[in-house]
């Protein structure tokens, strides 16, 4: 029997607002499958987002959901997680939301190692606002605000998260949903700040400007450039430049989690009082 997503979704908010063939659907499906595999009760899950196409995802999920301001989802989520550290808090964000306007919250949530999972749908573009270049738009590719090709070098989001102190970092793609589900599930199960980058397709805004107007062309372009980490590591620098690694890129289970430390502080003060 095929997997039934509907128990995790709000059927009254469908149909969704994404373009046909949008990669966000695969991300949401992978999230739902991960919830299901972990037996998480949606009553115990908060899904928080900022602004952008990806940030519309919480509206379709039957959980405690919050659609906030541009870039601030992690900060709202931090308040929720601090007050209810016994619950699951997940943030879903786009590349612009998470790494441009929200970049500060990303690095500090990672540094703090607060038990929140951040899933970034990285489709290289600001989709909702009309295809402007984002911090992850590849050098030389076209965007509505880069009509002659993007002059800015992009972020490697996963490396950024590792550098900022995230204790779990994985990268998957919409070209491999099964694998993506596995990474998201591992991220959810990880205690501490977990970061899952999903290389995704926005054929409407990125693809059309870069000769990949058909969703499958863009998904194939993504899939062809994804190499498993082990394989990627065997490559020389010139070859590596043509690909990006997928897999669990970083995992540290030894770092203390922030809200747990705070609860210990409260307990310690109670004891000494």
């Amino acid at each position: 029997m095929s997997f039934n997503y509907m128990p995790y979704m709000r059927d009254d908010t469908l149909p969704h607002m994404w373009c046909p063939g949008c990669g966000i659907g695969i991300v949401v499906k992978s999230m739902i499958r991960a919830f299901d595999e972990l037996n998480w009760d949606t009553h115990d899950i908060a899904v928080v987002s900022g602004i952008g196409c990806t940030s519309r995802a919480p509206g379709y999920l039957n959980a405690n959901t919050l659609h906030t301001t541009h870039g601030r989802a992690l900060a709202f989520a931090t308040g929720i997680k601090m007050h209810r550290s016994d619950k699951h808090v997940v943030v879903i964000s786009g590349d612009g939301d998470a790494s441009a306007i929200g970049g500060n919250h990303l690095i500090h949530a990672a540094r703090r190692n607060i038990d929140i999972t951040l899933i970034v749908n990285n489709n290289y573009i600001y989709g909702m606002t009309g295809g402007q270049y984002s911090p992850t738009t590849p050098l030389g590719t076209k965007a509505s605000t880069a009509p002659y090709g993007n002059l800015e070098p992009p972020f490697d989001l996963a490396k950024l998260a590792v550098g900022a102190g995230a204790s779990f970092v994985a990268r998957g793609t919409v070209a491999n949903g099964r694998q993506l589900t596995m990474f998201i599930k591992q991220g959810f199960a990880h205690k501490g700040f977990s970061f899952v980058e999903v290389v995704s397709n926005c054929h409407t805004q990125f693809g059309r400007r870069n000769k990949m107007a058909d969703p499958m062309n863009m998904v194939k372009w993504i899939g062809d450039r994804a190499k498993p980490l082990k394989k990627f590591e065997t490559m020389g620098p010139e070859e590596q430049a043509k690909y990006f690694p997928v897999g669990v890129l970083h995992e540290d289970t030894g770092r203390p989690e922030y809200t747990e430390k705070y609860q210990q502080l409260i307990a310690g003060l109670r004891e000494s009082a």
Binding site: G59, N64, T69, R72, T78, G79, R84, I266
Partner: protein
Amino acid sequence: MSETKTREAKRGLDVKFWAGNQVVAQAAVAAGCNFFGGYPITPSSEIAQEMARLLPTVGGHFIQMEDELGAMAAVIGASLAGAKSMTATSGPGFSLKLENLGFGYMVEAPCVVVNVMRGGPSTGLPTHPAQADLMQARWGTHGDHPTIAIAPSFHQETYMETIRAFNLAEQFRMPVILLLDEVLGHLSEGVVPPKPGTFEIVDRVRFKGDPEKYTPYDVSEGDVPPFLGYFDGARWHTTGLNHDATGFPTTDPDLIEGEMERFYRKVLDNRSVIDKVEYFQGEDVEIGVVSFGSTARAAMVAIKQAREKGIKAGMLRPVTVWPFPKAQTYEFGRKCKALVVPEFNMGQMVYEVERAVHYDRPVKRVNKVGGVPITPAEILAAIEEVA
């Protein structure tokens, strides 16, 4: 040494000698605040410091966020998860908080935002006082929304008004702004904290039905929608987009207009509990002073001196500054032949005063910027000029 005991101490009262910022923190905890998200900024930082010390001792949570925007966001997130939450900042930080403050109005998240005002614009005068964010408190965030803002003048009042700020936030499910200034924040004076149980604590009205049937903005019972926190059984949604009763986005003009009118009704139909004005020599008055916050303290001295000189001066002091006490100012203004409005800015509250008296009385402005508070002598001179 009994000689050094204050009158209050002799009467067995527990007198604290606290700076205003400490008063706010202590009162917040007394009011039930259990979450604080902050970011360091002069002259408000002592509030964060005191909350960092106090909150974990009462099982609450303090977090120093990475920026002012994040602090406001965390405070609203915690509020939606059920916390009584607060943040504190000063001018530049308040500017940064404004977008998310608007989000707080939109999703109807109770919280308290303290602005210990300093000179501005921009970085301005970090260590010097001003009262120049009065209009910003009302109109700072984009879009229409009503505002509740409170500006106490004395530490005892600051204690009680901080509690009232939480109560109003809870009662009407909206952010409430507490305006102090550097003078009040850093001045130390005696406070007698009331004993727990001797003052009212209001909690947001909770939804009592089946959580699975919860509609987050159902206002069939009144203008303030009953609350259920995240994880309390109802899997509900909200957004900064205009939304309908379900919390999901809508572009229906009638629904949007209805919600906006309800936001305004929450405040304007409940002015009997929101409004607060104090009078000083407010009877038999010919020269009326209207002043708020720390400047009102200087005005009181000036009024005493004017009375000694035979001028019948008196003061109306808005404690709730937003919504502005228009009707009270009108009544007060009618009794006066002229009004004097001292405020520590280039003239902000004076616009409200002029409108309140229908531009029908001479209004003398006393304005000052530059970081040195308005003196009683400056106010007295203005009183004498119009007397």
